[in-house]
């Protein structure tokens, strides 16, 4: 690179002269002096100051030279010499081997038809691979990307991860903290934290966003289209909606106290408003108080407004308990028929409900009459129940009839909504199954969070030679919880990158896993196989 030096020099010359009176003091003048008084006239001298003009010269100089850089690398290499000799045969086949050409020809005559037959056969059925199944390449092991933890809230040893939700753009994981053991009032502090896992630098022990809550967070749901909007249900029945992008992040809560859930909120979901606009999202909440409530979550004045209410009451059995609320723990809405939903109860009962229901509730439960909307009875059909509380109910994203349930009895079940009895049931013997989710990309893959066995991933892909009854018995992968002991309370697949799975455990950690290719790339006949599975339930 040429380097230019510019020198500017200013020379200022200032000349100045002044006239001086000379005094001559010579020897000649030294003789006896006679003093006479003399008055000398005053001579005024004019001082002449001559000022020369200021000379200034400005000049610039440029030197022209290039900066020369030299770069040299030097490496010393150690050489070793080895001599190798390989016998290279020129001809692949050995012509010298004695063969009886006629017998050889007979052999060829015998095998040619069969070889030709199969060569042609293969070409006629290029899809033969569909049944043979291309196997997935590469590693089958899951890779642990991050273990997220919020140490500030985990000081309280009872605090666990209770819920997880991916933001609308699938880049952030929102984690709800709370306790699962309560005797009466909740004395814990809960929190909602968010980590952006796509950030270049992520601090697993410091969330990007933290919001503390007055009581335990029991459930979370991110808005499906607007990133930053998160709804949380609390143990005390409150529902809060935040927009993390706002300065004042709390944008809605229930202001009408009579509409509040009277027990902990068990699940929250955003669904498209099925009746009016079909575009707007509404919030559905379920609670241990037996209510399924629909909210308009983004109204003006930050008031979460009740738009519809359903109440599930105990029927039959002990006459004293009739009409008492039956805690609703989980709800799932059908993909195609948005007014149909399946919900699981604390009692283990499993029902189909409809938003079109008009039947009124027969209950004298306190507070029901005060609600701004009188609750209806949603039940339209009952399914074979679990023996203990149901924790999770999920419709398949790829089949309109199939749904999955998990319960405290340690069973995972597959139902078709057309039949009351379950179609498949499997018990991993790892304690309660706290949560279950379908893979968003592979129709036949599902994940379950167990009490003792970590996250269990099942693949319902039928294997040739395996009887159907064995179909579900063994998980294809088990992902341990953060300390290998704690239970998995929540798990969510990332919908944008379906090989990312977040698992929240009772030790308060959230593990982000990257699953192997086989859990994300669907076979081309997989949806068909799922349909066959769903249809087979009616026969059994």
């Amino acid at each position: 690179m040429p380097y230019v030096v510019k020198v500017t020099t200013s020379i200022m010359v200032v000349g100045m002269s002044r006239s001086n009176r000379d005094e001559i003091d010579s020897e000649l003048n030294r003789k006896p002096v006679t003093f006479t008084d003399e008055t000398l006239p005053v001579i005024s001298c004019k001082e002449i100051v001559q000022k020369d003009p200021v000379h200034s010269v400005s000049a610039s100089v440029q030197t022209k030279f290039e900066v020369q850089l030299a770069d040299a690398t030097c490496q010393s290499i150690k050489y070793k010499e080895r001599e190798v000799q390989a016998d290279i045969e020129e001809k692949p086949a050995d012509d010298h081997v004695e063969i009886d050409i006629s017998r050889f020809n007979k052999f060829l005559g015998r095998v040619e038809p069969i070889v030709s037959y199969y060569l042609d056969d293969n070409l006629e059925r290029p899809n033969v691979l569909r049944h043979i199944k291309m196997r997935y390449t590469g590693d089958e092991t899951a890779q642990e990307l991050f273990t997220l933890s919020y140490p500030d809230i985990l000081i309280d040893k009872e605090i666990q991860v209770t819920s997880l939700s991916w933001s609308a753009n699938s880049s952030s994981i929102v984690v709800g903290y709370g306790s699962t053991s309560h005797e009466g009032l909740c004395m814990h502090k809960g929190a909602v934290c968010s980590w952006n896992i796509e950030r270049y630098k992520i601090n697993p022990n410091k969330p990007d966003i933290t919001i503390e809550t007055s009581t335990c967070v029991t459930t979370l749901a991110c808005h499906p289209e607007r990133p930053g909007i998160v709804a949380a249900g609390l143990y005390n029945g409150e529902i809060l909606v935040w927009d993390f992008r706002e300065q004042d992040s709390l944008i809605a809560r229930i202001l009408e106290r009579q509409d509040l859930h009277r027990d902990s909120v068990t699940s929250l979901q955003w669904i498209r408003e099925p009746k009016l606009s079909k575009k707007k999202f509404i919030l559905v909440s379920t609670s241990q108080d037996g209510k399924i409530l629909l909210w308009n979550p983004l109204p003006s004045k930050s008031n979460l407004k009740l738009t519809d209410a359903y109440f599930v009451a105990i029927k039959g059995g002990n006459s004293r308990s009739v009409g008492k609320p039956m805690g609703v723990t989980s709800v799932t809405f059908n993909n195609e028929d948005s007014e149909t939903f399946i919900f699981g109860c604390d009692s283990g009962f499993l029902y189909k409900g409809s938003l079109n229901s008009v039947s009124s509730v027969q209950s004298r439960e306190e507070g029901l009459a005060d609600m701004s909307i009188h609750p209806k009875n949603p039940v339209t059909m009952a399914y074979q129940s679990h023996d203990s509380p149901i924790y999770s109910v999920r419709f398949s994203p790829f089949n309109r009839h199939l749904f999955l349930t998990s319960a405290h009895d340690g069973q995972l079940r597959l139902y078709s909504q057309l039949f009351a009895n379950f179609g498949r049931c499997f018990a991993p013997a790892q304690g309660a199954i706290f949560t279950c989710r379908w893979s968003p990309s592979r129709p036949l893959v599902l994940a379950a969070g167990s009490e003792h066995g970590g996250t269990l991933i099942y693949d319902l892909e039928p294997h040739e030679g395996t009887p159907d009854s064995l179909l579900l018995s063994i998980p294809v992968q088990e992902l341990p919880s953060s300390d290998k002991r704690s239970s998995i309370n929540a798990l969510e697949f990332n919908h944008k990158t379906p090989n990312i799975l977040a698992c929240g455990d009772s030790a308060g950690a959230v593990m982000i896993w990257k699953l192997a290719e086989r859990f994300t790339a669907a076979q081309n006949d997989e949806i068909e196989n799922l349909r066959i599975l769903a249809n087979s339930f009616g026969d059994s």
Partner: protein, 99 residues
Amino acid sequence: MTQAEVDDTLKRIQEHKGVQGYLIINNDGIPIRSNLDASLTQQYAALIKSLSDKARSTIREIDPSNELVFFRMRTKKHEILVAPEKEYTMIVLQATDVQ
């Protein structure tokens, strides 16, 4: 029964769509005819020989009166067709991704 006939038969096999190569070995596992390159020929000859011996003995063990006639192996890249006989074994490679 001439060399020409043998060559004709082999040519017919080679001309089937998707055929990548063939190889015939004798019962000592020595390649007799091959249009694969030298190292592949050696590998296939040795490996398929031991596999087909194993397969043959498996079938025999299950039912001594039975005999292995033919087997094929579907792989991700190609199908290997093997016709083992007492004296010779023919091995043909066919690409499976032929459209």
